[in-house]
Amino acid sequence: MNNIDILELGQKLEIIHLKKSRDVKYLSYIKDMNTNLLLIDVPSLAGKNYVISANEIIKVIITTENAVYSFNTIVKKNQLSPIVGLWILEPKSIERVQRRKYLRIKVNIDLEMKMIDKDGDILHVSNTMSDISGGGISIYTNEDLKQYVNKGKFIVRFSLPEEEEEIVTEVDLVFAKDLQDNKNKQTTHYNYFFAFKFLDIDEKTIDRICKFCFQYQIELKRKGLI
């Protein structure tokens, strides 16, 4: 499978300018598609545009609910109007980079997630964890949390089962899915699904979470539940 079908209008992308810093990922999305070419938004970071000239090579990373994909391509030209963006060459195939870095398990853990705006006001609270891994958590809600992105920060607080020490960290929204159509809503009565990555969490805490995930998985297997 060449995975090319994951490219669609509006698909969010992360862009790395290979000639420059390989550590910096700029955000973009697909604005148009035609034969062999994709128009993507001018890559930006924290609201600042990043100009990439024609003929330069970029790496494009696509994160979906289940996996991360990437491909290298070339910028064909910058377009200034009417739709601003970069035309890039559509790849012939897209590599599946990894299923995910950490083992993710579905688990029912009480948590408190708050969205705190720039004035310190709490805009949203939720408490339904769907799954957890060493990299982050995901939750179901009835409220569309995308409306809060850029308005402040999401803070999550929870304890792993049989542990007293709380884990409190800022998280970043990395994936959102609208479940309001019937197809997606079969498995839940919530309207939205959101995945967050941990932002300021130390290695020791990641190890604790990973250890818990593995033990939980082993326990489920032992009980014949998976």
Binding site: L9, G10, Y29, K31, D32, D41, G47, K48, N49, L80, P82, I83, V84, D144, L145, K146, Q147, V149, N150, K151, A176, D178, D181
Partner: protein
């Protein structure tokens, strides 16, 4: 209505919280000359993210194109006031004015930007480009120099500065700057071509022949083109 717009409208309906989709829909409305719908979609994007600079700038630009400068100015002031980091909004507003031919307004905002961030080399470069276009080569060279002082590795600046000196009939300084540029990128074809042009003007035949040979090695078609122009 075209198919693309219909698809985007459906996508926006399904993802109403994604500001960039409202923005993309607005751009497509603009392309289809559906200006009122475009304005509404830019507004929708701003409603989702009141700091969404790109949407403000495009909305302001629409008012410029409608000859409604006062309204454009109000929108630009709003986005500048909202953003804590002023550099990017000021730069984008200045560029919007420049791209639409309002040079004095553009200069005003570029200069305002430099009051906020003296190290914003692109502002010096844009100011220099404006003075260059106005044939005010003294002002152009001053500002290119300022840009180079901030970002001394950017080869385009050396080419532009040298060209400004050349247009100001100071070929000696132009050659000096071009030689500095070659220390950064010895195979930069534009530099070699401009040097050849200057040698030709100065009737420095030996240097000209050597330079044409260099151009021939780097880009044979450009050497042929250059020789045809000389002939």
């Amino acid at each position: 209505m075209d198919e693309k717009i219909k698809r985007l409208e459906a996508l926006v309906d399904q993802n109403s919280g994604r500001k960039e989709l409202h923005f993309l829909l607005a751009e497509n409305y603009l392309k289809a000359n559906l200006n009122e719908q475009a304005k509404r979609s830019f507004f929708n994007a701003i409603e989702i993210d009141p700091y969404y600079l790109k949407a403000y700038v495009r909305l302001g630009e629409m008012h410029i194109l409608d000859d409604n400068l006062d309204k454009a100015e109000l929108i630009f002031k709003e986005v500048i006031e909202k953003n804590l980091d002023l550099s990017e909004p000021l730069y984008m507003v200045a560029m919007t004015y420049k791209n639409n031919g309002f040079i004095e307004k553009a200069l005003f905002y570029f200069k305002k930007l430099l009051q906020v961030d003296r190290a914003y080399f692109k502002a010096y470069m844009e100011i220099a480009d404006i003075y260059f276009d106005q044939q005010q080569y003294d002002e152009a060279t001053i500002n290119y120099h300022k840009a180079i002082n901030i970002d001394s590795k950017r080869i385009t600046l050396y080419v532009k500065l040298a060209y400004a000196y050349y247009m100001d009939s100071d070929s000696k300084k132009a050659l000096h700057i071009l030689n500095e540029g070659l220390l950064i990128d010895g195979s930069h074809i534009e530099i070699h071509v401009l040097m050849a042009k200057i040698y030709s003007d100065l009737e420095m035949k030996k240097e000209l022949d050597e330079k044409v040979e260099v151009i021939r090695q780097l880009a044979p078609h450009m050497a042929d083109e250059f020789c045809q122009k000389l002939a």
